[in-house]
Symmetry: C2
Subunit: 500 residues, 2 copies
Amino acid sequence: MFETAELGHKIDKKTYRELVPQLRADLLDAQYDLKESARHPVIILISGHDGAGKGETINLLYEWMDPRYLSTLAFSAPTDEERMRPFMWRYWRALPPKGRIGIFAGSWYSIPIQASIEGQMSRAELDQRIDQINRFEQMLVNEGALILKFWFYLSKKAQKRRLKALEKDPRTAWRVTQWNWERLKTYDRLIEVAGHVLRTTNTPWAPWIVIEGEDDHYRAIATGKTILDAMRTKLSQSEKLTTPVAPVLRYDIDGRDVLTELDLSKKLSAKDYEDQLARWQGRLAELIRRPRFKKHHALVCVFEGVDAAGKGGAIRRVAAAMDARDYQIVPIAAPSDEERAQPYLWRFWRHVPRIGRVTIFDRSWYGRVLVERVEGFCSEADWLRAYAEINDFEHELVSAGVIVVKFWLHISKDEQLARFQARAETPYKRFKITDEDWRNREKWDAYHRAVCDMIERTSTGAVPWTLVPSNDKRYSRVMVLQTLCKRLEAALDGRARNKR
Amino acid sequence: MFETAELGHKIDKKTYRELVPQLRADLLDAQYDLKESARHPVIILISGHDGAGKGETINLLYEWMDPRYLSTLAFSAPTDEERMRPFMWRYWRALPPKGRIGIFAGSWYSIPIQASIEGQMSRAELDQRIDQINRFEQMLVNEGALILKFWFYLSKKAQKRRLKALEKDPRTAWRVTQWNWERLKTYDRLIEVAGHVLRTTNTPWAPWIVIEGEDDHYRAIATGKTILDAMRTKLSQSEKLTTPVAPVLRYDIDGRDVLTELDLSKKLSAKDYEDQLARWQGRLAELIRRPRFKKHHALVCVFEGVDAAGKGGAIRRVAAAMDARDYQIVPIAAPSDEERAQPYLWRFWRHVPRIGRVTIFDRSWYGRVLVERVEGFCSEADWLRAYAEINDFEHELVSAGVIVVKFWLHISKDEQLARFQARAETPYKRFKITDEDWRNREKWDAYHRAVCDMIERTSTGAVPWTLVPSNDKRYSRVMVLQTLCKRLEAALDGRARNKR
């Protein structure tokens, strides 16, 4: 990866001065075009060797462009709010919205590379992280982002020269610390690790740009021109490019599927219900308060289901077992404009609970492959790639100790009709049903198919779907509580196999 | 405050069961009305004695209302992100948006009360905090919030009885710890401190509601009814109630004011400019990197000014002296819908820098008393009360070590015309001026008056306005840099008198 960056590239002062004015004007133009079109964010990662000009380059970009629409995220040690959530949470919350440029000084690559050099991360762990990063970047690109990953390279000799030069100049001496000299000793190890990381993350959608770092003029011009060309190309693309997606193949041979096979006749008597409800609510209350949960886990519950299947009632029975100070219920409706300016999953990442806490989603990210698919709110490519993105998201949660439990509450078409009619007749105005409910009902078959596809593609070992027969509300609620308790117990008793 | 809560209020089980169904239905109705009107948030503070039923009451509210539109914020020790910002930041970021109910378990009262009991906060400091809290709550109410502050009271004997009862019941025994018994020893001290706090924060706009905590039924019904009545009253108010505001009195006797008296003829030669620019940028770079700044201070720069006065150019000269990893530039345009659902200052609180960092606002909260006043985007009462709210906001920043520097860049009406014409003729499409700029120019006199009022009312000892003659861009930029350096030096050398 680094051979082409040892050529001794140089640009003399005169040439540099000739090149800069046009480059600045063009970059500024591109930046305003980006802002006005507001169709995609630009994510610039600045990484490389100490002394290779990372800080200088960032400051130069600020000088050349309009700094009001740039943001720089400098990641160092995670804060405690970040440490209590999955690894990627801090990067998600820092993503620039569409139309803006975000510069990452220290990115999702920094910690894995540093930990690998220091021997705190095995190669296998590193490769897992790399896989996660590649998927993350692919998702960002599919969501419209332009990702530019720079590696400013210095040979070992050049790095020594740079550090000495920096140390000599009183204006920059403060930047060279004993730590930098210590790090120079691990140069070979860094080259080995970074070489591996760059090679395996050098994807077609987010390739690395390795730039020789020794000559300030060359580095500046090369970086500026690269950003300009990439932004122009991106801005000129009228169609949205996304990962190739295979259609869903489904052969309906005998009319049987996971939903038709669900036994909706299951029932509980009032007496059994009271007993069971108290039993499982008590169990849940106890599990959530265990020190092991408080210190190492979090809980995410997802409630999806047919309209009028009783999601609200089930959520209330779950919530009743917990302390209001420990959970949040997040009802998913139309996204806010800040959410629309971000990748699809951003609005859910916002609500990922910290360790020891619970988030209950009333509808969820599965809207992408349910209502958005059926109503055509997103393109086919968008919802087809969503299955894998959702699995990645949930896997990241699970890796961080989050227990993810997903429910599909199902009722028959007849039962739905009966409930709709009952609601329409009930005096409480709140439960009057809307025209939209009736419209959705007309699309029963399309939703049926979407649900089957969703379950097939997103019910994984670590995060299975639980299909809940809900014609009988009592049975449904108890099954939800019981499932939650069993999943929690499995995780807390260490019998879980929920780490890939 | 507490005498009325020692009456031994009780409600028997039968009466309770008769009262609850209607109360629940009514609360649910009120909650949905609140959600649909989306005109104001409801902020419920739950405080009081250990064992007085704080947690139970919150959980009951969740049972009675729709938990999807409730949020509970449990504040315990601040996280490090919170510790690195002003005291109120954590509460600002937790405020419920319009249409929602936010329950605060542990609020802005908890830390001052606890610190006073433990002797870590003097009465004078407590009173300062109380003053701050009263102003904060008044601002919330003026912005449309309904604030309900509950204190669940127990006499010393009753508290002992409650703790013993909780300990005896296996379902609640986990809630009583040695710490609770320790706290009981400081009961008298709590009564003394809480009595003082409740009395001095028992404002007309946000009075305390003291409820006897021993009987579960009584506490539940009293709390529920109070919330219901308050919500109904609030929902039925068609006009917006705000603090009385006095009009701005200004007698233009001799046509002289701070702007007319500004010497706009000030100039710098090209040579002097280069020298001075380098000098002050160097100084600024050094000041921002001092350990004392990094550890104890943050910097907020506010740039306001006449259109075309050169705010952008000045900001770039300031930014050039800093490391992009240390600052953010926040350009203020139209608020997002999430911002519109919050009190006016919320969108600025979001960007308050943590200790060691810098935020540069390109236009700011002063929009309220400038463009919003002149264009009539808010009511007269709104902008009139904004002066004091802004002073409070800036004072909170200053109290937390933030150095706040505010610039008004001023040019003459002729100079503006010349710049507008020059812009219109410049080929770079980006600098074409808009129709809005010409429209604003027609309101020159109204803006002139608004600026004078703003300076008069918000130039305070700790946070003065700096009026920058900007007909000459070179002079303007150097003056901005020099002012920044002097303010930073004063704060870092400890010569500052910028704490009230």
